[in-house]
């Protein structure tokens, strides 16, 4: 009887001479094709592959856009990218919807009815830009360029350089708002206070333990795929331990080794208690103790390591695990166990995000995390939170002589809103315009941003934007019509990212910089124009040419000016490959430990500041003389941080933790005299939110979150994404629900001092009692058929409208969230709103 062995014996007996000569199949590449190619399922023909870059979220992953017969049909990850390794999230893949959205704006529009009435007329670009240029020029000629306010959402890398550094700088307005305060300003400001740069990379590739406070990194993060796919690999392949503190069982928490539920806004108490354990149990000894050399924990700069240990212990005395348990609901024993783990399993990566920092004194939560990372020796070493590394592009700087910019003081919030808003308080810009005491812009222009929808207090945003007395002229730059565009005077149709150029520089998780570009997959549809090109046009019209023809020209020049990219083959190489990294560059860790050679700091213009030990270039800081520099001191000289050279520690000059935005020293400052001078706690401390202290029985705290298939405000028009994620019921714990007679799926009302919304209840033990969680991205009412569901004005009698099978498009929580700011950083406190909850109809 034949069996497998018998078959193989036949194989063994076959002489080579029996085999027909030449093989029919030949290998044509070194290995299997993994990405980078795609074929039409209909014709089998290879699709055109355009290396480009995403713009859905700020991560801006390199991608490959596939084009078939002039049509963008598919987007996938760039396999050559060291950041993503070819992985692309659902949002990135769903980006084809930005191209094919049937509700796209294809021509410039001018309103012809009352503002907000919805009555429009197409105008030519010439007419639209003619009007805008005339108005802008008049303000510039009158010496009041600051009356042009530009407010952006997503604007990075080459777009930022062209629009902000070239166009707006040469125009002369500094009234430029951003959106960082609704994102992660608290985290950024805290990092600037402590170690200088505003961004931390999480080196999951080498981590053996991950401690997470309020980051939903597996679903949404500012460096999402580059970090999350590494984290998943580490969790599954190396089986490292990850503990997530969150009020909600997010998918990140669910994939962690342990989810530790915590009351909203109390992560800082837990972190401080962990610091207490680490110090009191002498767990800092070893790496933490050695690292203290570079840390400032008290006044002055002459403290020994022993002094620092004493100071830390003294500061942390009251922050015991038992104290934290009362505040956070996390058992003291649990806090101790995790503190011991994070201090002893090396290296540990301590991560945080909006869940932890979008609170009252959220910046202090980040400072506390820096403290925990410092005393456990988990700073800027492989496997820890590291100083960000990104590509450093060179680019055309435009005219040498720029006007002195002027700005309206409306960017940093209402008086007293925030003491250190290093990234502004842009969610209060409209309030400031309404207030009027610091002046008002005559032109309010927004770009890739939706001031109505993205900020809190939606109704007030609408009322202000609608009011022509407060804002005489408004311009919206957007490829799509949305809740804010509906209130503009002129809409300029921008290209979606699928139809534009750009170079990119986002942080690399490998600590090796990656250069990458965006190139148009297809030509702009209709009359859409990249706003960077429009700015070049506007500058020409106003008589101050920027010296570049267009964005493509700018990218090309940048490729040739940036030595690493030029050496690789410049613009042509980048067009063909999309990404580049120098394989010889080693990952950058421990940059603060670099010892400076004397010729770096012993030269004319550089002095040592006796108070801080900082070497700084007083000439670069535009101080008149060395004598004045020494008299005034580094800390008290305006923008002296820009002239930082190095930090003297124990007679050696190190690179240290280079400051940014603040005149901090080169130490990692856990004790900040700058912060103290503002009347804030010098070291990270527990300061409860006033409204939480005043909560009445039955009050709850509303928090928000993001989901895997949507970004905050600009993806719900992508049909594939909205089909996945179209609704956002309010998560409430069964205990909370039972107390109010609410069952899963019930219609409920959520009320705050700012208003009320109606939504449905998702009753689940996956959230702590006492909290309500509602995700962002839903509840649009002017954003096309997919985002607005059946309620969309254009959404009927067309095939894709008829295919919208879902019956709800969710509820936008921002109607009832206040535009309040973290008193330190100015961050919008998305996670602090006190609300009540009742079954809909219960009060009728």
């Amino acid at each position: 009887m034949l069996n497998r062995r018998n078959f193989l014996q036949v194989g063994a007996a076959v002489p080579l001479s029996v085999l027909a000569g030449e093989a029919l199949v030949r290998r044509v590449s070194a290995g299997p094709v993994i990405g980078g190619k795609d074929f039409s399922p209909d014709t089998g023909k290879e699709r055109q592959a355009i290396p480009s870059a995403c713009w859905q979220c700020v991560t801006r992953c390199p991608n490959i856009s596939y084009v078939e017969d002039g049509r963008l049909v598919k987007i996938e990850g760039q396999p050559k990218s060291i950041r993503t390794n070819g992985v692309m999230c659902s949002k990135g893949q769903g980006g084809v919807g930005q191209f094919s959205d049937p509700d796209r704006i294809l021509y410039p529009m001018r309103r012809v009815g009352k503002r907000g009435e919805g009555k429009w007329k197409r105008v030519s670009w010439d007419e639209a830009l003619g009007e805008i240029a005339t108005r802008m020029k008049k303000l510039r000629d009158a010496g009041t360029p600051e009356k042009v306010m530009f407010h952006y959402g997503r604007m990075k890398a080459s777009h930022s350089k062209l629009i902000k550094s070239l166009f707006l700088a040469n125009y002369g307005t500094g009234t430029i708002g951003n959106h960082t305060s609704i994102c992660e300003a608290a985290k950024w400001t805290a990092q600037e206070m402590t170690w200088g740069g505003h961004y931390d990379n999480w080196d999951f590739d080498h981590a053996n333990y991950v401690l997470n406070f309020g980051s939903n990194v597996l679903e949404s993060h500012t460096n999402h795929i580059p970090t999350s796919h590494r984290l998943i690999a580490r969790l599954t392949e190396k089986r490292i331990r990850m503990v997530t503190f969150d009020i909600r069982l997010s998918n990140t928490a669910a994939k962690s080794s342990e989810w530790v539920p915590v009351k909203p806004g109390t992560d800082r108490a837990v972190i401080l208690a962990m610091c207490n354990v680490v110090m009191n149990e002498d767990l800092y000894k070893g790496d933490g103790e050695a690292f203290l050399k570079f840390v400032k924990v008290s006044t002055g700069r002459k403290a020994s390591i022993a002094d620092k240990v004493v100071a830390l212990k003294a500061h942390l005395t009251g922050y015991t695990p038992e104290w934290a348990e009362k505040i956070s609901g996390v058992p003291a024993g649990k806090i101790r166990t995790i503190a011991r783990d994070v201090a002893t399993v090396k290296p540990a990566c301590i991560i945080t995000y909006r869940g932890a920092v979008s609170h009252h004194h959220g910046a202090d939560t980040e400072r506390a995390a820096q403290m925990l990372a410092s005393i456990t020796g988990n700073i800027d070493r492989p496997g820890s939170r590291c100083k960000a590394v990104g590509a450093k592009w060179k680019y055309p700087k435009g005219p040498k002589k720029k006007p002195k910019t002027r700005k309206l003081k409306i960017l940093d919030g209402l008086p007293g809103a925030a003491k250190m808003p290093t990234h502004h308080v842009s969610h209060q810009v409209l309030k400031m315009i309404k207030d009027g005491s610091a002046g008002r812009p005559e032109i309010y222009m927004w770009y890739c941003y939706t001031p109505v929808y993205a900020n809190g207090e939606v109704q007030e945003n609408i009322d202000i934007l609608k009011d022509e007395k407060l804002i005489p002229f408004s311009v919206c730059v957007d490829p799509f019509y949305d809740e804010s565009a509906a209130l503009a005077d002129i809409i300029l149709p921008d290209t979606p990212y699928t139809e534009r150029w750009g170079w990119e520089d986002m942080v690399s998780p490998t600590q090796v910089p990656e250069y990458y570009i965006r190139q148009p997959a297809v030509k702009p549809l209709g009359e859409c124009r990249d706003f960077a090109d429009v700015c070049i046009d506007l500058a020409d019209r106003m008589g101050f040419p920027l010296g570049v023809k267009n964005h493509e020209d700018f990218v090309k020049a940048s490729c040739e000016m940036t030595s690493a990219v030029k050496a690789a083959g410049g613009f042509e190489y980048m067009k063909a490959n999309g990404v580049y990294h120098d394989p010889k560059v080693k990952p950058r860790y421990y940059s603060y430990m670099k010892v400076l050679k004397p010729d770096a700091y012993q030269k004319p213009g550089i002095v040592m500041d006796p108070a801080t030990g900082v070497y700084w270039n007083w000439k670069k800081a535009k101080v008149a003389s060395e004598e004045e520099a020494l008299k005034k001191g580094y800390t008290h000289t305006k923008k002296a941080y820009k002239a930082y050279v190095g930090q003297e520690i124990d007679g050696v000059v190190y690179s240290g933790f280079k400051p940014d935005k603040l005149n901090k020293s080169g130490y990692l400052e856990l004790y900040s005299e700058i912060v103290e001078a503002k009347g804030l706690p010098a070291m990270p401390s527990w300061t409860p939110a006033p409204e939480h202290e005043a909560m009445k029985s039955g009050d709850l705290i509303l928090t928000t979150f993001k989901v895997a298939a949507q970004i905050h405000s600009r993806s719900a028009n992508c049909k594939y994404l909205t089909e996945i994620s179209y609704d956002n019921p309010a998560w409430i714990n069964p205990v909370t629900a039972a107390a109010r007679g609410i069952a899963d799926g019930d219609a409920i009302k959520v009320k705050s001092e700012f208003g009320e919304i109606e939504t449905t209840a998702r009753v689940t033990p996956a959230i702590v009692p006492g909290a309500v969680a509602i995700s962002h991205h839903c509840g649009h009412w002017e954003y096309g058929r997919y985002a607005s569901g059946k309620k969309a004005p254009s959404g009927r009698n067309e095939p894709d409208s008829d295919r919208i099978w879902w019956t709800s498009n969710g509820t936008h929580p921002n109607w009832i969230i206040g535009n309040r700011a973290d008193p330190i950083s100015g961050q919008l406190r998305f996670m602090d709103t006190v609300v009540t909850l009742e079954k809909a109809g219960a009060s009728a």
């Binding site: 049509r71 049937p102 796209r104 529009m109 549809l525 002017e782 254009s794 067309e798």
Partner: protein, 238 residues
């Protein structure tokens, strides 16, 4: 070149092809952009107004009385509201409107339309910002085919005439005829002024008879050549 002796003279067939071409051209212009004052002036010649009247095209009372500048302004707003947005509008693109189609902008239907242009030896002009399956582009394509058909009749080029008629029949069958009527019905529902519904009626009415007319014309090619005419018709019926 074959000698063609249709029951209707070449000149008449050429003339009617020109008329069809011009009507397509007019409709393409109407749906291409907002009407200018000059365009309205040209539209309101006595001959044309009589012809519109005979065809049952009614622009409403205002069209006869209001100043052209006012009408142009109203219609510019109307055109934007109906066909451009932002927000509520009736997308004038086959891929968005086609029943059971992709429903998206520049969908697979758009590629097929462009391939139809290319297969016939045409393409979208470089500066043109219209997407290939925009109503006005499809109408423009038919206008050009009909114009060339007229020339072919005049030159008594039987093969070319047949080919051009087949192309028109095929394009109407596979593309414009599949979605135009539904689109026109929506225009009538959503309009505030009589202008666009009038042209929507004209388009719908005209297009409804086009395929039969084309078949008839093809049959005329074969009046003296049963075999050739039969083949042309056979191609269409297939």
């Amino acid at each position: 070149m074959h000698d063609v002796t249709p029951t209707i003279g070449h000149d008449e067939l050429a003339k009617s092809a020109i008329e069809r071409s011009r009507l397509y051209g007019l409709l393409a212009t109407v749906f291409r952009r907002e009407p200018s004052v000059e365009f309205l002036c040209r539209l309101k010649t006595p001959e044309l107004m009589v012809a519109f009247s005979v065809a049952g095209v009614d622009f409403g009372d205002d069209f006869g009385t209001d100043p052209f500048a006012d009408i142009a302004e109203d219609l510019a707003i109307e055109y934007t509201r109906l066909f451009l947005g932002p927000g509520k509008h009736i997308s004038p693109h086959e891929s968005v409107q086609l029943k059971r189609g992709s429903g998206i902008l520049w969908g697979s239907e758009t590629s097929e339309v462009r391939q139809a242009y290319r297969a016939a030896g045409f393409d979208i002009g470089e500066p043109e910002t219209k997407i290939p399956d925009h109503l006005s582009v499809e109408l423009d394509f038919l206008s050009i085919l009909a114009r060339e058909e007229a020339q072919a009749w005049a030159e008594q080029d039987q093969g070319r005439t047949a080919k051009l008629l087949q192309l028109q029949h095929s394009f109407i069958t596979r593309h414009l005829g599949k979605w135009a009527a539904r689109f026109c019905a929506r225009v009538k529902e959503e309009s505030e002024f009589a202008f666009y519904p009038a042209f929507a009626d004209l388009l719908r009415g005209f297009l409804s008879g086009e395929k039969a007319d084309i078949v008839n014309r093809l049959s005329l090619i074969g009046a003296n050549d049963q075999q050739a005419g039969g083949d042309h018709l056979k191609t269409i019926n297939e």
